[in-house]
């Protein structure tokens, strides 16, 4: 009533004004391209396909589960075929439409082969908004080491589980076909 509330408000703002010069936490913004906030490990953006050694040998076996589970249906998978027309356990086409993908992470969750994961890369831009935003297999593939770098905790867990599974399958099926054991585990 006497204007005291107004003055108190002004005191708050002027305190914040001087805090930006004196206090360390005064400014809460970060000057982005030069400085960056630390990335959270679970941060998810667009999916990537991981491979162990060679980029051609993706872990993906083209089982189409992620494509079916994907809520906005942004994944297109076509199985590769060998010379006789027999389907192989790898994708011929693996497209993700980044205009449609909503980063929900359900593909990662449902993949039984540890093949698709959500990446941390978020500075993505394209000059064309139609075709260039449909990311092909080649652009999506990343080495497993990349994943180990961005998500060390998860990677450790997955590595342990995969190692355990591998020994289990090796024990169960002695004469395992080489390419199957390599990819299916």
């Amino acid at each position: 009533m006497w204007g005291t509330g107004v003055l108190k408000g002004m005191a708050v703002t002027i305190k914040n004004f001087f805090d930006t010069y004196t206090s360390k936490n005064g400014i809460f913004t970060v000057e982005y391209p030069e400085k960056r906030l630390p990335e959270k490990e679970r941060f998810r953006n667009f999916p990537i396909l991981v491979y162990d050694e060679k980029p051609e040998e993706l872990r993906c076996v083209a089982c189409d589960i992620c494509a079916k589970e994907c809520p906005p249906k942004c994944i297109t998978i076509v199985k590769a075929k060998d010379a006789q027309g027999k389907p192989l356990k790898q994708p011929e086409v693996f497209d993700i439409d980044f205009t449609v993908c909503m980063n929900c992470g359900i593909c990662e969750e449902t993949c039984p082969f540890d093949a698709i994961y959500m990446d941390h890369e978020f500075e993505l831009a394209e000059y064309d908004r139609m075709d260039a935003l449909i990311y092909k297999k080649e652009r999506l593939s990343r080495p497993w080491t990349h994943f180990e770098k961005i998500r060390p905790t998860d990677a450790k867990e997955i590595n342990e589980r995969r190692a355990k599974d591998a020994t289990k399958t090796a024990a169960a099926v002695k004469p395992a076909p080489p390419q199957a054991s390599n990819q299916q585990t």
């Binding site: 189409d64 494509a67 079916k68 249906k73």
Partner: protein
């Protein structure tokens, strides 16, 4: 918690309305819907003065549309109980609850907009989410999308 059987018996006794249990709600004949609402709202025992939710469900196989109301009593803090009413898909008219519950206004408009349920007695029954010139009722199960390809199941 109010038991639906109890409400059912009470309705039968006081109003002479034959209702049946259906799922989580009480199926009320269309003609007596407003009476039931009025009874539930004004009866000292129930005092269902608050309409929490209203929505339509399209049962294509039975060729019926069901309207589900969830009533709640602010005074007694009981509920919600589901009241359901069924109407024919073609001749889709249901008495409006707006004279009793102002809160049904937008929800009825939504049901009209998406399901084509005409609420008799609603003063301002216009489309609310779709634009005015839109034809058809998009939430009905037999509605054909303009761009069907976007909703195709993955092969």
């Amino acid at each position: 918690m109010i038991q639906l059987e109890e409400v059912k018996a009470e309705l039968e006794k006081s109003l002479g309305v034959q209702t049946e249990l259906s799922g989580s709600g009480l199926l009320v004949p269309k003609s007596r819907l407003l009476d039931v609402f009025k009874f539930l709202k004004e009866n000292a025992k129930y005092q269902m003065d608050y309409i929490s939710n209203l929505c339509a469900v399209d049962y294509l196989k039975q060729s019926q549309i069901e309207i589900v109301y969830h009533l709640y009593s602010m005074r007694n803090k009981t509920g919600p109980i589901g009241i359901k009413v069924r109407t024919d898909r073609q001749d889709c008219i249901v008495p409006s609850a707006t004279p009793l519950f102002r809160g049904a206004e937008f929800q009825e408009r939504e049901a009209f907009d998406l399901y084509g349920v005409k609420f008799e007695g609603h003063t301002d029954l216009r489309r609310i989410l779709m634009w005015d010139g839109f034809e058809g009722f998009p939430m009905r199960k037999d509605y054909v999308h303009e761009d069907e390809d976007r909703y195709v199941e993955h092969p």
